[in-house]
């Protein structure tokens, strides 16, 4: 005789409601999707989904609004930090973040990001650094590594003519108005977990009115790197982290997280 075993069901995993139930259009091995998932988790955990306004930028990043069900405004290329300044000044009670690629933030939008950071705008910037202009077909970006071949640096980036890749997290950390600046990666489970914690901190700071938080994600773009997803992931863990070290470069809490 079998006895029915009664156990209470406990849900240990669910998708946050803010994540749209839709298939991804991103290329296989692209890290944008992982970053979206972390954003969804963090906003959900902080209970601020219904308070959040997203500023989408120009690049593969723009389609964030197809995946995160948030109030969203599209910014011109590079201007997201200025648009977000307008949003946050208009609606200080909202949680405001920008989601920008490296071409967008570190080239055409360098002025806007520097000044928003320097003003200490109480917002969160999510910066996805994949060392190329993704959407336009993999041209040289401000973060392209010296020697890296792209469609506009076919012999590899030359330090002599193109300069060195910009380390935005360190540059932003150097500004007195900035509260928090950190670099994370999502190339393995350990790093994804760490990235989630740091991203959460980047948003919690804003909720607590502490000021400007900047989180850079090292991301793979297998398509434009002409690599398989696995190779691209390995490149993030190797060459990229070597040049763009992970960690918290500024934290006015100074609590080690």
């Amino acid at each position: 005789m079998t006895q029915a075993i009664q156990t209470e069901e406990k849900q240990v995993f669910r998708l946050p409601d803010v994540l749209a139930d839709t298939a991804t259009h991103f290329c296989p091995g692209c890290h944008h999707g992982i970053v979206h998932r972390l954003l969804a988790d963090v906003l959900d955990q902080l209970g601020v989904v219904q308070d959040t306004i997203c500023v989408a930028s120009v690049g593969c990043s723009v389609f964030i609004y197809n995946y995160l069900l948030l109030d969203t405004v599209e910014s011109p290329h590079g201007r997201a930090a200025a648009v977000a300044t307008g949003v946050k000044r208009a609606n200080p009670e909202n949680v405001v973040f920008t989601y920008q690629g490296d071409g967008d933030l570190a080239a055409i939008g360098l002025s806007e990001i520097m000044y928003a950071a320097n003003r200490g705008e109480n917002m969160t910037v999510v910066f996805v650094n994949n060392t190329v202009y993704g959407m336009t077909g993999g041209q040289l970006a401000p973060t392209t590594m010296v020697g890296q071949k792209t469609t506009t640096s076919q012999q590899g980036r030359s330090f002599e003519t193109d300069g060195a890749p910009l380390k935005m997290t360190e540059i932003i950390a150097g500004l007195p108005g900035v509260y928090f600046s950190a670099r994370v990666a999502v190339n393995n489970v350990k790093n994804i977990k760490k990235a989630g914690k740091i991203l959460k901190k980047g948003f919690a700071n804003q909720v607590q009115h502490k000021g400007f938080s900047f989180v850079e994600f090292l991301a793979a773009c297998p398509t434009n790197w002409r690599m398989t997803p696995v190779e691209a992931n390995e490149r993030v863990g190797g060459e990229m982290i070597d040049y763009f070290p992970l960690g918290i470069f500024k934290d006015n809490d100074n609590d080690g997280l």
């Binding site: 306004i53 109030d71 969203t72 599209e74 201007r79 200025a82 648009v83 949003v87 208009a90 806007e112």
Partner: protein, 357 residues
């Protein structure tokens, strides 16, 4: 500024700033440039006093994009600049037009091209009436000719921006910006009821998320969006506004806008004293351009002379408006020269139909 209950003696730039406060402007973003700097100087204090927000941006590009962000939240918001700065704002204005955001942009126009001069100019007429940035879009444009009008039209600019969810430009020049006149009908700051903002962003609380965008990639989507915008621009035609002065029995109609319209009016007055049958038509809305009343005047067999403080831009619109019946002469005062009524008497007299033959 002297204030006694309902009358103020102010510069045109100050009238615009005070108009913005009266209109309930909540956010203002700017970057310094002559000849409009009184606007940010005044609003940096008076807007903040009434609970509004002022940011001195790092560039005109940033200021216009802050405007984009604030209007996305349904706020009454404004930026101001002068020609070179307005050129930099065009990117954001195009995006605001595409995303249907109601920003107010003030251009106290100066001479160009390039760094040009800080003298009065109407050289940005094409830019403001043809959209200014990329793509098929239009911005409503209002051109005041007095400090009173600068005040009133600034208030109207905010109303129109929200009525049509479209950027609105107030176009003045250094004469308007710098001259001092009394303004009347001082209005209390409007109290906004927050209605009609069911498109604006505030966080998707107990409702569907909202998306403000100008990107339409799927097949036919952009065409559909553009069709909707074009219908809106057609609907704006009912906002045509103009002044007519002694046009009824006039044989020659002088067409001029803004400060040039004001100067032309003095010239017309002087010529009337000499019994010349001349009148003035002053477009107040430059887009939409008041074509119908011009066409009506042309149908009556009158002659036309367009006067501009540029190399001849509005004259294209005048000619289009009257093309079924007449053509327009053109007299230009090039930017860098200050127009004065006496200098206009000769060109107007020469254009009188009897003399022109």
């Amino acid at each position: 500024m002297k204030k006694n209950d309902t009358n103020l003696l102010v510069k045109g730039n100050e009238a615009i700033a005070l108009g913005a406060v009266a209109a309930g402007c909540e956010c203002y973003f700017a970057y310094p440039i002559t000849p409009q700097s009184e606007i940010p100087e005044l609003l940096s204090e008076s807007l903040v006093e009434v609970g509004g927000t002022f940011v001195q941006a790092e560039s005109e590009i940033a200021a216009a994009n802050m405007l984009l962000g604030a209007t996305a939240c349904g706020k009454r918001a404004m930026t101001s600049s002068s020609s070179p700065g307005i050129a930099l704002k065009q990117e954001a204005i195009s995006y605001m037009a595409g995303s249907q955001l109601p920003g107010v942009i003030v251009n106290i126009c100066r001479g160009g091209p390039g760094l040009g001069s800080i003298d009065p100019s109407q050289g940005d007429y094409y830019q403001t009436t043809r959209g200014g940035g990329h793509g098929d879009y239009r911005t409503l444009t209002l051109a005041p000719a007095s400090c009173q009008e600068a005040y009133d039209l600034t208030i109207r600019a905010f109303d129109l921006a929200f009525l049509y969810r479209n950027p609105v430009v107030v176009l003045g020049d250094a004469i308007l910006g710098q001259m001092k006149e009394p303004i009347k009908n001082w209005k209390e700051r409007v109290v906004l009821d927050g209605k009609g903002l069911d498109w604006s962003l505030s966080g998707a609380r107990n409702r569907e998320p909202r998306l403000l965008k100008s990107l339409y990639l799927s097949d036919g989507a952009l065409a559909g969006h553009n069709r909707k915008l074009q219908e809106k621009y057609q609907a704006m035609r009912k906002e045509c506004d103009w002044e007519e002065y002694r046009t009824q029995d006039a044989e020659l109609i002088v067409v001029a806008f803004g400060s040039m319209g004001r100067i032309a009016k003095s010239a017309v007055r002087k010529l009337r004293e000499k019994n010349e049958k001349v009148g003035l038509f002053r477009p107040i809305s430059l887009y939409p351009f008041p074509e119908a009343p011009l066409d009506r005047l042309a149908a009556q067999g009158k002659g036309f002379l367009t006067l501009e403080n540029n190399a001849g831009q509005m004259v294209d619109d005048v000619r289009l408006a009257i093309r079924r019946h007449a053509d327009s002469g053109l007299h230009c005062v090039l930017p860098g020269h200050l127009a004065n009524p006496d200098d206009l008497l000769g060109p107007i007299e020469e254009a009188m139909p009897a003399k022109a033959g």
